[in-house]
């Protein structure tokens, strides 16, 4: 139960942020950190716990984003309901992609490639279809009321993303303490061995990707509500897919707090880069790429993994 306590402590610590942090700038910083942390946690479920690396997670994000935008704009549906529907649709697309890919036994690089292809197909479709605003994208009209899922003060968005963060942490915690989570990890470690112990590998993987997709869908809605704009490149482009995977890799794959840690670390790096290198387009992404390569080379267990290993070494030396 230590993890549960830790989760509650972290959430409690994050809760008063809008009152402690007076500047909008730093509140936005915190919101973006939690937002990327949430996207990273979604990826972590399939990639970290499930062991299946997707390079096209934008497919689920974009689906959620467009679901929200389109339903609001074209059908006038309540934005909060859109949040739920975005999650459902993100999960459905996840299940579809998963069912196709895993039914045919795709793993490793092949799986990554097919997710990349799906994201690209969605991007092209969104770019070509009037329904989604084609290349121009969709803009949500400003109407800042809580009921409309828009807030005049940033604090409102902060609490929403904090709630989503709590959801992500709860899901990760649940995976660590449930039969489904144990099976997911077993499948990650050794599919045949898992199969021999009665684990339905296909079903386990599909559930993992559906869960991951659902959370990404929620993230997509948050983006749309926060920025009030979506277009095919933002929704389905590689930037989101890369951010989603970079965050847990930096923080620690398959851990509960890894994505949160990774997101804050990257957000600080981002900030530092902007200060040091100015607003140069592209340079901060270069930094991301460098970090990715360095992490894989020297710290494949991420920051959290490092902390974990150090803790174990300390315990061993002590006892």
């Amino acid at each position: 139960m230590k993890t549960a306590a830790a989760i509650l402590i972290v959430l409690a610590a994050l809760l008063p942020m809008p009152w402690l942090v007076r500047s909008d700038f730093w509140l936005n910083f915190a919101i973006m950190a939690l937002y990327y942390g949430f996207l990273g946690q979604s990826w972590n479920i399939l990639g970290g716990f499930g062991g299946q690396f997707s390079f096209g997670h934008a497919a689920f994000f974009g689906t959620g984003a467009y679901t929200s935008a389109v339903l609001q704009l074209r059908l006038g549906i309540d934005p909060w309901l859109c949040l739920v529907l975005a999650g459902v649709l993100g999960g459905a697309v996840g299940a579809l992609v998963g069912a196709l890919s895993f039914r045919y036994g795709l793993r490793g690089s092949y799986f990554a490639l097919v997710t990349l292809a799906f994201a690209e197909v969605f991007r092209i479709l969104a770019d070509s279809v009037e329904f989604t605003g084609a290349g121009v994208g969709l803009q949500i009209p400003l109407k800042q009321t809580a009921a409309n899922f828009q807030f005049p003060a940033k604090a409102g968005f902060y609490f929403v993303i904090l709630a989503l963060t709590a959801l992500g942490l709860a899901v990760a915690w649940w995976l660590k303490h449930s039969r489904l989570g144990a099976r997911m990890v077993a499948v990650r470690e050794n599919e045949d061995a898992a199969r021999a112990l009665g684990v339905d590998v296909f079903r386990t993987k599909v559930i993992a990707i559906a869960l991951s997709g659902a959370l990404m869908g929620l993230g997509g809605t948050f983006y749309v509500q926060y920025f009030l704009y979506i277009d095919p490149t933002i929704a389905y482009g590689p930037a989101v897919s890369v951010s989603a995977l970079l965050v847990p890799i930096v923080g620690g794959l398959g851990t509960v707090f890894g994505p949160l840690l990774g997101a804050f670390a990257l957000q600080f790096v981002n900030q530092f880069a902007q200060v040091a290198m100015g607003d140069a387009i592209g340079l901060n992404l270069v930094l991301y790429g460098v970090i990715l390569v360095l992490m894989i080379m020297y710290m494949p267990n991420g920051l959290f993994g490092l902390a974990h290993v150090s803790a174990r070494r300390l315990v061993r030396r002590a006892g």
Binding site: A182, V185, E189, D192, A194, A196, G198
Partner: protein, 248 residues
């Protein structure tokens, strides 16, 4: 009859790995499947456990036709296999490894973990519960394979060369564990090269050669069977071995 294999065959391209194999294993028995390398023992195990599907023939487990069922479904029915080359969940601890097996019958994480701890005691891994699986020795991994399978509360176990890589002392330690498993009500079919273990454990020996079942005898009679001798030592060997005076 706990396991009933009827006329099962399987080929890979032009190679006939298993050809018209028919045999049964009675409930509560320990049967040994022996034969030279390449005889098709592991293929047969894969066919029975659902990792491969037979080209022809039928397999019945506890009266139920399991031919063509998926591996995880067969395991859920109570027929569980181990692997010749151990397949631990490397990054997980011994306890977590075994718990995966326990989860087949138990939903609660805590229940699975405590059941896993008890199973670990039974196979002698009780003092290694929190060790990562990939830090175990070969003997440890073999026990882990056994423990994981045991945790699923199986009716029958298929043990694939569980003695391979063990030294004589380790073999002597694991034999009573397997016997105890059978005494606990689990039917066992094992493949083995270590004859000592076969002799000590099994009630019956089935000899496979070139994909075909060539003999089915009590273990102590196996060594005298000319077909078995020929299978291991080559044509003409039977006459030489059986007619020459035995050396001490």
């Amino acid at each position: 009859m706990m396991l009933d294999v009827q006329d099962v065959s399987r080929s890979f391209g032009g190679l006939r790995a298993v050809a018209h194999v028919t045999f049964g294993v009675a409930e509560g028995e320990i049967a040994a499947l022996i034969g030279p390398n390449g005889a098709g023992k592991t293929t047969l195990f894969s066919l029975i456990s659902g990792f491969l599907h037979p080209d022809s023939g039928r397999i019945r487990f506890d009266g139920r036709d399991i031919t063509g069922l998926e591996a995880h479904a067969i395991a859920a029915l109570g027929l569980v296999r181990t692997f010749q080359i151990t397949q631990p969940f490397g990054h997980l601890t011994v306890c977590e490894n075994i718990a995966v097996g326990a989860h087949l019958r138990l939903r609660s994480r805590n229940a699975a973990l405590s059941h896993a701890a008890r199973i670990a005691e039974r196979v002698g891994l009780g003092n290694r519960l929190d060790q990562p699986a990939d830090s175990l020795t070969v003997a440890g991994r073999k026990r882990l394979e056994l423990a994981r399978a045991l945790a699923t509360a199986p009716r029958m176990l298929l043990l694939d060369e569980v003695m391979a890589g063990l030294n004589p002392r380790e073999i002597d330690e694991i034999v009573p564990i397997i016997r105890a498993i059978r005494d606990g009500g689990v039917t066992v079919l094992l493949t083995e090269h270590v004859m000592r273990a076969v002799m000590q454990l099994s009630d019956r020996a089935l000899v496979l050669n070139d994909g075909q079942l060539i003999a089915e005898r009590a273990p102590r009679d196996i060594a005298q069977d000319p077909r078995v001798i020929e299978a291991y030592l080559g044509a003409g060997a039977a006459r030489r071995v059986l007619e020459e005076p035995a050396h001490a």
